[in-house]
């Protein structure tokens, strides 16, 4: 029962109702403001705080060899960072007991895992900022060890990186990419359109605890991983060739060496070995000059391996046969006053064209070469693939230098017959011999098998048109002559592969020292086997050999690589004998 007079009670109730009305009204107004008037702005501000936009990184595609062995692939690398403002001791449960590790102890554990100096880490922890990097580009093994330490103020940043599991195997061919993904050389650069992916982007909302809110993701661009590139390279054979070549370059104290293995009937490049080489995992460890692919980029004067092409040209144009007889003196004085000499002093020899190749006679091949016009020989050089880039068109590839036959001086006209005065790349010379081995048809070098896109679409690379360089009979004659080089030649004999008929030609070319010829040579040997039905061409060159001044320094390399190639591909030993052709008269 109320003790107040009725009027007073009514008045108070009225005041209370009005006050309640004012409060409720205020709430209603505030509600209207939040829910209707300012709703848009509040929503936008709120969404802005919880919305995250991130780049979805696309992975770069792998590079495989002909058998699917991985030569390059994408992996994650991690930058290990710390938040100095949060650095503090960490408590852990060990055997049911709480153990507190001091910052000094934690720094010691981190230093051991990261391979860093503990005091350096402690200095970095001493800052007041929110971020300090402790180590960059660590692999997953180290990352997982860091994670196992479970230090809350340490966090990793993951980013895709490149791994070359076989190191420098085909390193010069593969090229490499920088930490920020720029392709700097080789196949990585040349085939970037196949290998590179396209980063995506997505926007999503997350709660205050960082958890993504379901169904909030909006993918504005879908990430597309790069394609897988398959090469024609045989990794195991490539490794073998690199081992043998590196050994020879060290032994001969040469500037560098190259070795190629070509599958004659397909034009596929099985091996493109170089020494010194580059490990794409650590390109900085190699000199800048050794990071390129000299097989494509560097030219040299081929020397006597060119005599094979001069001889084939003469036979194909009908001005000579394998048995054409020539008197080959040790030296010939040219009308313009210079001397053309053979490498070793000898009395005048009665040689056939086959004998000229066997003895690698400069004076002899000169007499054969002059039976053709310079325009004819130049035309054949072009058909053999010299003087222009291959269809691979590798980054930085050189086309070599043949010059213009109309402006060749007399000395160049003659010296080009035995491979001086012109410049070629190792791959050009290898494929000129491929033409001879392949019944006179030169195939375009094939290095790329196919590109398989992330969605499974396969793109095969068009193989350039083949070129009929010489007739089949000329090619056969030339192979027969090359076989005599290996059967009877002073140097050629050292290229013999037991059980197989092998043909080949040596080259010992002068090299430039400044603007004149120096005392060092580019020694080479290019050969094919089995001669009765050539399957493989192996081309070896050591540039500026300092121990051996003749191609006898290159034949052991040729021999080992050819042996391994024939064994790898199960080529049955020869069962026939070489053609009986005269070398002297």
């Amino acid at each position: 029962m109320s003790m107040l007079p009725p009027d007073e009670e009514n008045r108070r109730q009225l005041v209370l109702r009005r006050l309640t009305g004012v409060v409720v009204g205020a709430f209603v107004i505030a509600l209207l403001n939040y829910q209707v008037i300012s709703a848009g702005a509040i929503n936008t501000e709120s969404k802005g705080k919880r919305t995250v936009t991130r780049t979805v990184e696309a992975l770069r595609g792998s590079i495989l060899d002909r058998d699917g062995q991985i030569l390059a692939k994408s992996v994650y690398r991690y930058d290990i960072n710390a938040d100095p403002s949060a650095v503090s001791p960490v408590s852990r449960q060990v055997d049911g007991k709480t153990v507190t590790l001091s910052v000094d102890q934690l720094a010691g554990q981190l230093a051991e895992v990261l391979g860093k100096d503990k005091d350096d880490l402690l200095r970095k922890f001493a800052g007041t900022g929110k971020y300090v990097n402790l180590s960059k580009n660590v692999d997953a093994t180290i990352y997982s060890k860091v994670k196992a330490l479970d230090i809350p103020w340490i966090w990793p940043d993951a980013h895709p990186s490149r791994l070359y599991p076989n190191g420098a195997v085909a390193g010069n061919l593969l090229g490499f990419i920088t930490a920020d993904g720029a392709t700097l050389a080789g196949i990585e650069r040349k085939m970037n359109s196949c290998l590179a992916g396209v980063d995506g982007q997505e926007t999503y909302e997350r709660g205050s605890d960082g958890i993504r809110i379901p169904d909030s993701a909006v993918v504005s661009q879908k990430a597309r991983n790069g394609g897988t590139l398959q090469l024609t390279i045989d990794t195991n054979l490539q490794y073998f060739a690199q081992q043998v070549l590196a050994n020879a370059v060290n032994y001969e104290r040469a500037d560098y060496g190259t070795a190629l293995v070509v599958e004659v009937k397909t034009g596929k490049l099985l091996v493109a070995a170089e020494a010194p080489t580059v490990d794409p995992n650590d390109p900085g460890a190699s000199d800048e000059a050794d990071r390129q692919s000299r097989i494509f980029n560097s030219t040299y004067e081929p020397g006597s391996t060119m005599k094979t092409l001069t001889a084939a040209t003469a036979i194909d144009t009908g001005v000579a046969t394998v048995g054409t007889q020539v008197k080959a003196p040790f030296a010939v004085k040219m009308p313009w006053g210079t001397w053309i000499k053979d490498s070793e002093k000898h009395k005048t020899l009665n040689l056939t064209l086959a004998g000229i190749l066997r003895d690698s006679s400069n004076t002899g091949i000169m007499k054969i070469g002059e039976l053709n016009t310079r325009a004819e020989r130049f035309d054949y050089m072009k058909r053999f693939g010299l003087g222009k880039k291959t269809s691979i068109d590798m980054a930085g590839e050189s086309g070599g230098t043949l010059g213009d036959p109309k402006t060749w001086d007399d000395q160049t006209n003659y010296s080009s017959m035995f491979g001086q005065g012109i410049a070629v790349t190792p791959i050009q010379m290898a494929y000129s011999y491929q033409a001879i081995a392949n019944k006179g048809v030169r195939l375009q070098p094939q290095l790329f098998e196919k590109c398989t896109a992330a969605d499974g679409t396969v793109t095969n690379f068009p193989v350039g048109e083949s070129v009929r360089v010489v007739s089949e009979s000329t090619a056969r004659d030339t192979v027969d002559m090359l076989e005599k080089v290996v059967e009877q030649g002073h140097i050629g004999r050292t290229a013999d592969v037991a059980g197989y008929r092998v043909g080949g030609k040596s080259g010992t070319a002068q090299t430039m020292d400044g603007n004149r010829y120096g005392n060092l040579y580019a020694i080479s040997f290019i050969g094919l086997a089995p001669a009765e039905d050539p399957q493989y061409v192996v081309a070896v060159m050591l540039y500026k050999s300092r121990r051996t001044a003749s191609s006898i320094g290159a034949t052991p390399v040729f021999k080992q690589i050819m042996q391994q190639t024939l064994r790898t591909y199960r080529v049955a030993p020869s069962t026939t004998k070489s053609r009986n052709i005269p070398t002297e008269w």
Binding site: V75, D139, A285
Partner: protein, 178 residues
């Protein structure tokens, strides 16, 4: 039909108890009650679904974290496999086991049983390359060749007494079954 009857009866009972429904037409009262019950049911369902979604969200986040851990483990193992399968490691192992490549391959032609090639014993070539000359900075794991050689010695001794002298040299000579 009985459910429909029950639904029709419920609003009448509620109408009798809830003040503001009294005096309303039964049809309108029934509609209001059904709408109210429907809204309530929707809210309950929404609450249940929200809870399930939130639970799933955390489960999803946990699974993603687990996936990342597994991905890292796979990467660690993959890198080790790459290292072990690299040419450099395999050659080291082959050398440690005393393996020598035979440069005189011999073929047996099945059609006529003819042996092609001259069989010769495989010998370590003077010019063979003993050390790895092709660098590989990606190698973070290699085979313990010492252990491998010891294991091979044990297995050879166990299988053939004649192999004991070969194994005693520390490396195994060329295969006795060439």
């Amino acid at each position: 039909m009985s459910a429909l009857r029950a639904l029709n009866a419920v609003p009448e009972k509620i109408q009798g108890r809830v003040g503001f429904l009294r005096g309303m037409k039964p049809g309108l009262a029934r509609t209001l009650v059904i709408v109210a019950l429907g809204l309530f049911a929707i809210n309950v369902a929404n609450l249940v679904l929200s809870n399930i979604t939130i639970q799933s969200t955390y489960k999803l986040a946990a699974l993603k974290a687990e996936r990342n851990v597994l991905r890292t483990e796979a990467e660690v193992v993959g890198t080790q496999v790459n290292s072990l399968a690299s040419n450099q490691n395999l050659v080291d192992v082959a050398h440690a086991l005393g393996m020598v490549s035979n440069v005189n391959p011999v073929f047996l032609r099945l059609s006529d049983g003819k042996v092609i090639g001259k069989p010769k014993r495989a010998l370590a070539n003077q010019r063979s390359v003993a050390a790895n000359l092709v660098p590989n900075a990606a190698m973070n794991t290699d085979t313990n060749t010492e252990l491998l050689t010891k294991n091979s010695e044990v297995s050879l001794v166990g299988s053939s007494g004649s192999a004991t002298t070969q194994a005693g040299s520390g490396t195994i000579q060329a295969s006795p079954t060439y």
